[in-house]
């Protein structure tokens, strides 16, 4: 798979996991609302292209997962999760897994799963 396709399909797969597995129960119970918005990215290597960001709403609090770019160092793409309490970077590895950045206090990347994602929501909101 070409790099741009890998990046874009990985974004879709992540969003799908969030909506249909990780947050599914909360969405069903109307505790969380997730909506998708189209955004335009421009990168020298890929040109101008469309992808999506998702906006997670819990009550009056909002969290945005925004794709930053597919051409980044040491990974195949980055999405920033931005909440009122800060931003956490997700990067895409070569095994189609998303890793999130933590400081312990040194920078490390840990594989993202449902448990970690729920913790991130709690931390950033």
């Amino acid at each position: 798979m070409k790099r741009k396709e890998y990046w874009l399909s990985s974004i879709s797969k992540l969003y799908s996991a969030i909506k249909t597995r990780w947050l599914h129960d909360y969405i069903k119970q109307n505790k969380i609302v997730v909506r998708q918005e189209e955004i335009t990215l421009q990168e020298d290597f890929f040109g101008t292209y469309q992808t999506n960001q998702i906006i997670i709403t819990i009550g009056s609090r909002i969290l945005i997962l925004k794709p930053i770019g597919g051409i980044i160092s040491g990974a195949y793409g980055r999405i920033d999760i931005k909440g009122t309490k800060g931003t956490i970077n997700l990067i895409l590895n070569e095994s189609a897994q998303w890793e999130y950045k933590v400081k312990t206090p040194f920078v490390e990347y840990i594989i993202l799963d449902k448990h970690a994602f729920l913790e991130i929501i709690e931390e950033l909101m």
Partner: protein, 192 residues
């Protein structure tokens, strides 16, 4: 006191320090290239710190590191220079054979301090003021003056940068090392 010593971890040579700074910067540039290479080839191993960066972020990150490395070497060069000046102070007061003007003025300062412990914390500015009065050539006075100005930066670094720095002659470590080396050499050669 000789202006040329064998470089070592405890008492490094100023010119060596400036060259080590340049070696650090050259190494950083090579590593920066590797991080850029990792945008094209993401499987390339790089430190976690540098993963996930876009081009502009890579530039910004390395600019910060280069600036910090530069500061550390500037600080190191100024501190080692201070060490040389203070060592010369004790060399002069400890050798009774030294009858030159500076040694006499140094002994007065030492006596006023009252003890070796207190003499160790005599303000460097006081020693430099004696040298500024001793040297007659304007060029030499200017070098001492420049060193005194740089001491604001040295103190700012030594005390953890908790206050605004103000003016900082942000010269390359090579230039600072050359000027400081010259001061140390002139001091060593001066037996007025």
């Amino acid at each position: 006191m000789s202006s040329k010593r064998n470089p070592g971890p405890e008492y490094p040579d100023l010119i060596e320090l400036a060259e080590w700074h340049e070696a650090n910067i050259a190494s950083l540039k090579i590593y920066k290239e590797r991080v850029f290479e990792a945008t094209v080839n993401p499987s390339l191993t790089i430190l976690s710190k540098f993963r996930g960066l876009q081009d502009e972020e890579i530039h910004e990150t390395f600019d910060l590191i280069e600036d910090e490395v530069k500061k550390l070497f500037q600080f190191s060069i100024l501190s080692v220079t201070e060490g040389n000046i203070r060592k010369d102070f004790f060399d002069r007061i400890n050798d009774a054979a030294n009858k030159d003007t500076v040694s006499k003025k140094y002994r007065k300062l030492y006596d006023k301090a009252g003890s070796p412990e207190k003499a160790r914390v005599i303000k460097l500015q006081s020693l430099l003021d004696i040298w500024k009065l001793t040297f007659t050539a304007q060029k030499t006075k200017d070098k001492i003056g420049q060193y005194k100005t740089n001491l604001h930066f040295r103190h700012w670094m030594a005390h953890g940068r908790y206050y605004p720095l103000g003016f900082h002659a942000n010269y390359e470590p090579r230039k600072i090392a050359r000027e400081c080396e010259e001061i140390i050499r002139m001091i060593a050669q001066t037996k007025i």
